[in-house]
């Protein structure tokens, strides 16, 4: 009997190895300075005690995609384990003069601009390797930016789940309802990644959408 049990266990292990379900890969997308890394840091701090990367008021602080594997989020409805990819801000233009206007010197600005262009390319390439996207929008800005339109279009074309995080609702000029009206076909949670406002609702929605 012991031999049969052993064979059964071996088969079971082999089966698991062959058909092991990969964690869903979820990309955090959005325009520069929408709060993507702030949200990634919030998620990681809440569930792993770690952080993803540094944040800055100067755009394109994240210029390389960062992946964190096996982040388990527990909600009332159960738990979900995800691989989270914090992507560089998407843009259609990058002018180093804008970094100089923020106080960086010319060489530093040019270097940052070059790295930012590479970061955008990386973010675009990741679109082909994801199972879903959290699109972070700055609720104080116009929601119909090209970056938002292009990311939403790509998710719809691939028939992949998308969750909109209307960020920065701690600011008085924020209007999450403008975002909801702009893209009513997708679920949206209004949050402040910085202050943690509504973050539990976001986790519930993440579990529902990507589970």
């Amino acid at each position: 009997m012991g031999v049969i049990k052993k064979i059964k266990r071996n088969f079971s292990d082999l089966f698991k190895r062959l058909f092991k379900k990969q964690n869903a890969r979820i990309g955090i997308y959005g325009p520069p300075n929408a709060g993507k890394t702030t949200l990634a840091n919030r998620i990681l701090r809440d569930w792993t005690g770690d952080a993803m990367g540094s944040v800055s008021h100067i755009a394109h602080e994240t210029r390389r995609a960062r992946r964190r594997e096996g982040v388990t989020i527990k909600t009332n409805g159960g738990s979900i384990t995800l691989d989270i990819i914090d992507t560089p801000g998407l843009a259609t233009k990058i002018d180093f003069h804008e970094f100089m206007a923020q106080g960086l010197d010319e060489n530093e600005s040019k270097r940052r601009a070059k790295e930012a262009t590479e970061g955008v390319i990386e973010a675009v390439k990741w679109l082909d390797n994801l199972d879903g996207v959290i699109l972070v929008m700055d609720a104080t800005e116009d929601p119909f930016t090209q970056v938002n339109v292009t990311v939403i279009g790509n998710m719809e074309a691939r028939n992949l789940p998308l969750l909109i995080a209307a960020n920065k609702v701690d600011l008085p000029e924020a209007s999450a309802s403008t975002i909801r009206d702009a893209f009513p076909q997708h679920p949206m949670v209004s949050i402040s990644a910085l202050e943690g406002k509504n973050i539990d609702t976001l986790y519930e929605e993440i579990a529902k959408r990507f589970g």
């Binding site: 259609t92 233009k93 119909f144 090209q146 939403i152 279009g153 790509n154 719809e156 074309a157 702009a182």
Partner: protein, 123 residues
């Protein structure tokens, strides 16, 4: 008679773009925009083509040279037909799109059915 100053704006029909492969479309658009032209695409680009255009734009940005594009398209519409649902692939209905050099075209306001832009004749 004085020379007329201004910029060139080309209105590209759906048919003209449909004859091109995705990579040709992206190349065509980027070449035209780098020459300083403003393009209005009757039917726009697919979301994947928009992403490719962003990618190629990034490879061509140079300090004190080409700084990128301004692109504005209306949100696409999803055609959720039964066949599309069966194939698990959505058909996207693309819509009119304006593309130009970032230093000459600036979007002033945009909503679901209106794009308002400022075009500068000088860089």
């Amino acid at each position: 008679m004085s020379m007329m100053q201004g910029f060139q704006m080309d209105l590209i029909s759906e048919h003209r773009l449909a004859e091109m492969a995705p990579v040709e479309k992206v190349r065509f658009i980027i070449d035209e925009v780098r020459e300083g032209k403003i393009l209005v695409l009757e039917k726009g680009l697919s979301p994947e083509e928009e992403a490719s255009l962003i990618e190629m734009t990034m490879t061509l940005i140079e300090p004190d040279g080409f700084s990128g594009i301004e692109m504005e398209s209306y949100p696409s519409e999803v055609d959720t037909s039964i066949l599309g649902r069966l194939l698990k692939k959505n058909t996207i209905k693309t819509r009119m799109t304006v593309i130009g050099p970032a230093d000459q075209l600036k979007t002033l306001r945009k909503d679901r059915n209106m794009i308002s832009a400022l075009i500068s004749a000088q860089k």
